[in-house]
Symmetry: C2
Subunit: 310 residues, 2 copies
């Protein structure tokens, strides 16, 4: 049983109450706590030494990553982050310089988005560093974007370039907060998710929530330079397209809009964010599953994100 | 450098924003997020296998404890908890039965206080179980109780009986939510904290925040049956009074009110909570430090909560 199966099993028994707009199962929980016209967003995420980062990494980048992952989830709802709490599990004796540098990286990112770091706690975790961050944010009630709003015929978009994030980008990526807010302010975004498990995996989550399928165009998938370089150096070699489809930790936005809005969106995007690519990678179809089209025809992507190359 | 010194060092550099009423340094952060007449409370806490619980403990109790610690902090502000997120760090392969039982204990407590569990995440923590819980709550703006409101002359009260919690109570204690809300609704509570580090330590935190001192009456400290029993069995023996003053994890409420209200409070409490003792254990004095009075006279308590017995 993997993480997703465990969560699926636990969710039905979780207690709820009248203020829960969306509980477990989306990028953030959405809560109606009585703020006029706004929903509260609530999210937690953890990074663990040896799993999400190596001990020898610059601790400022570890702090950055720990918060940036949560902010990316706030972005995926179209929201604005407001507050964070930080829990540190540390081996003993802990390295003060390490902890201070970790906070420098985390605080710098927080300041950039006016996020207040309002506390947290430290505890012993003898074998490795464990960092759990919780964030709050808000979103106008009409503008909160779920994973479940995609409908057949929608165009599927992705920001940036994908794959090869573990070569470095996973430690210093910028959460797409500005872009996401611009998107929800200017267009009717039907469904959105941030890519943390890989394009194929996270598209699968969005499709499942929306009860639809998708057709992707292989030539339209934006492939990062890292994925291309890694394909040359890695052994066994991983084709760059496969990396772009299945590597995790891109933290780009994946979203759908009505096909009627697709061209206008691409035009406006280029004016507003000339440095950041936006790619239309395919369309939503009725039914279920992900199919990818290339010169050899149409092939299915598996649920775990791995493509069966013929 | 211990946990408290580390936190003290980190706090001044934490980013803040205009919505922060109280950031790091109290039981919960207090936030003004635009809910008319109410503040939002935000708190995180973690329990780690081998430190806060043993692996062989009933997992329902572990889940209960993980959430109850956070709810105790909401209680210490006079608040009402509303939502929780749960992060589980688990060794691989994880024991599904263990995780389900842990959630049963946590969910049962959540249901009792109408707390919605709105998600969380699971990650790998190879050597031991790490559970981080974040909670939200609210409190009427006029009623939120800080640690910093104690003034000279106040009477100091504590609920329940203290010491020896590790004999079992730390795993199944009931957070004092009902009692705390009743207190803030019926009396002008000047300062409040929940006892997690031991009476002497947490009183020290309250006094430091309020910039005052305290005189305790040794004979008035309520000593638990566990502390008395442990004193007979433990080697080296720990005097029951010392256990009541310094053992951690009591999760009782420690608070101050004007001495004018003390008798009325004790009377009303006995009517409302006949099963739960409430003890007036001393008074707030100008200056700083904690002193304890017994037959031998007045003696200081050290900052770490340990009394020097003559």
């Amino acid at each position: 049983m993997n993480e997703f199966e465990l969560i699926t099993r636990l969710i039905p028994s979780l207690p709820t109450n009248a203020s829960v707009v969306a509980g477990a199962g989306d990028d953030c929980a959405i809560l109606d706590v009585g703020i006029p016209d706004r929903w509260l967003l609530f999210k937690t995420d953890a990074v663990v030494e040896g799993i999400h980062f190596k001990r020898e990494v610059d601790p400022e980048k570890i702090g950055h990553k720990a918060l940036a992952r949560c902010l990316s989830d706030i972005a995926a709802m179209g929201g604005t982050p407001t507050h964070a709490l930080v829990t540190l599990g540390l081996p003993k004796p802990f390295d003060l310089g390490f902890v201070e540098a970790l906070y420098r990286g985390l605080n710098r990112l927080a300041v950039r988005y006016q996020v207040a770091v309002v506390g947290g706690e430290t505890t012993l975790n003898p074998e490795r560093i464990f960092i759990s961050v919780s964030v709050l944010g808000t979103v106008p009630k009409a503008k909160g974007i779920l994973r479940s709003g995609a409908t057949a015929g929608d165009a599927i978009f992705v920001t940036g370039k994908l794959g090869g994030s573990l070569a470095g980008r996973h430690l210093d990526f910028e959460p797409r907060l500005v872009e996401a807010r611009w998107l929800v302010e200017h267009f009717s975004i039907h469904a959105m998710i941030d890519i943390s498990d890989g394009l194929a995996g996270d598209l699968g989550h969005l499709l499942k929530a929306s009860q639809v399928g998708a057709e992707l165009l292989a030539s339209a998938i934006p492939i990062s330079q890292s994925a291309r370089l890694l394909a040359k150096s890695e052994s066994p070699k991983k084709p760059p397209l496969l990396a772009a489809l299945t590597d995790g930790e891109d933290f780009e936005l994946l979203f759908t809009v009505s096909s009627r809005d697709a061209v206008a969106l691409l035009d406006s995007w280029k004016n507003r964010f000339p440095e950041l690519p936006l790619s239309c990678i395919g369309k939503i179809i009725p039914g279920s599953g992900v199919f990818i089209k290339d010169k050899q025809g149409m092939r299915p992507l598996t649920a775990h994100g791995y493509i069966h190359f013929a």
